[in-house]
Symmetry: C2
Subunit: 301 residues, 2 copies
């Protein structure tokens, strides 16, 4: 039942047209964990540096996120990222990035976490993703993300990892880059041929596409009036999606399709505040209420 | 019951990454009419030049589109447009445009058409849109489109026309330009304040948004594997949307929401071939079958 996530933990500076926030908690594993923790217990596997504020660990623990796989590495510094958003919040530039501990050895899966059922491998080097898989017994669902850097420079290794997972959650530009197909349905079908049973293609403010052997499901984004900070929307989507699947204990087509609604809704909350401001105080009823409202909005004919 | 459409009729040359077709039937009123004719009888009000091929008139008539409002103007030439699409078909450049008869006086609504119930004013000069409205008795629903040119140069006239219509169907860039709001929900709400009862914001390959006083509905595009030519997708959407509304004879929130499905589905057929190739031979059952399948795809939780 517990869900294991491995990915980055960062200290972010985010600049939007309206505000700038400095030194806030971020990173793919963090957004994923805060999103998924609304559904099932979450186990975090990641590395930070000595400078990682105890206050941030406290926030993770307050959410019942198990930190037994969080290595605080002596002599290292935590990953830092500064990004600036465009006027309509749909694009962003990375202004500054310090890889720090992310450029060193990756984290290890503690023995106590080896029995995890559902696993999310957020974006890291595909070889490291395989090392993490090797530390697990026999998870029912391994789902991965990736990024342009590995598609460009580590293609063979990436294809090998893709052949070992049950699902992939990636964005539209990555799907096109990986497959050479400009049509996202075709891109998704090409990725299925590499091995995964399902592919979710995220389209940012435009929703997502689920492609399985049984067909395609398109879902729009939840229509938001007040977007504060889109950082972590994709990882929150993945957290809501996999958290829901882990809670259901299933992976049939109905569960996958309904997981799209939960991913979308959790992401819609994530972007209402900076960092994990909204996700951490969110009540499960709020998620379920918005999910029901969203499903109702999508009921036609 | 009959639906009146007024807009452009063109002779198009379309260049996609795979093919180039020359001298095919196009224009906003044409796509709209072929789409809407699957639902209700359509009355066409437009002007062409002497060079307009009889074969094209024959195709319109074969679809039961009433051409009593089609003026073939002596000494004038038909509007011509050449467009080239990007590799992924999501963007296009206008390579050449000859306004020809569109730069002259607009068409007139024949007396026999004055009793039309539902009216679509495709994009033209907003003053001309008001002249057309003046030629009608008391339509139950007047819906309009517009374009960047009028938003930029004829703002006051456009606002006056917007104050006279029941609904607006326009694309995302136009909604942002018209209102100065980057968030599409806010843009839609601003447009409602000008007068219309509903606003549909089209997002091309990313679906559409319906904004009414009662709330917002987002709908994705139908996931298409084989897109041939996106020309006319937006006008076909409008035709399916308003054709369905006219057939229902209603305009309540449920009808408007379900009309989104029909607009989306008819547009998905339109882009499967060049010009009106697919729309003209389409059977109503094919539309209804895809609409049911699409609504089913959107049924969650």
């Amino acid at each position: 039942m517990p869900l294991l996530v491995t990915g980055s933990i960062g200290i972010d500076t985010v600049i939007t047209p309206r505000r700038r926030v400095e030194g806030v908690l971020g990173g793919s594993a963090v957004y994923f964990a805060f999103a998924a923790a609304h559904y099932v217990p979450v186990r975090l596997v990641a590395v930070v540096g000595e400078d990682f504020p105890g206050e941030f660990s406290g926030e993770l623990e307050a959410r019942n996120i198990d930190l037994a796989g969080l290595e605080v590495r002596k002599g290292s510094r935590t990953f830092r990222w500064t990004g600036r958003y465009s006027e309509n919040l749909n694009e962003r530039d990375t202004i500054e990035v310090e890889l720090n501990v992310l450029a060193e050895d990756g984290p290890r899966v503690p023995a106590a976490f080896a029995d995890s059922d559902t696993v999310f491998l957020a974006n890291t080097h595909p070889t490291q993703q395989r090392t993490l898989i090797a530390g697990l017994n026999a998870p029912k669902a391994i789902v991965m993300d990736t990024m342009d850097l590995w598609i460009e420079n580590e293609r063979d290794s990436l294809l090998q990892t893709l052949g070992m997972v049950h699902g992939v959650i990636l964005n539209d530009a990555e799907a096109v880059q990986l497959t050479g197909k400009l049509n996202l349905v075709e891109a998704g079908e090409d990725i299925l041929r590499i091995g995964p049973r399902f592919v979710v293609i995220k389209k940012g403010a435009h929703g997502a596409l689920l492609v399985t052997g049984g067909g395609v499901t398109a879902i729009p984004a939840y229509p938001c009036r007040d977007v504060c900070d889109p950082t972590g929307a994709g990882d929150s989507f993945a957290g809501g999606f996999l958290g829901y699947l882990a809670e259901r204990g299933g992976g049939g087509i109905d569960d996958l399709r309904n997981a799209l609604v939960h991913g979308t809704v959790v992401a819609s909350f994530a972007i209402e505040d900076f960092s994990i401001g909204r996700l951490k105080d969110l009540a499960r009823e709020e998620i379920d209420r918005r999910a029901a409202e969203f499903a109702n909005m999508l009921r036609f004919l």
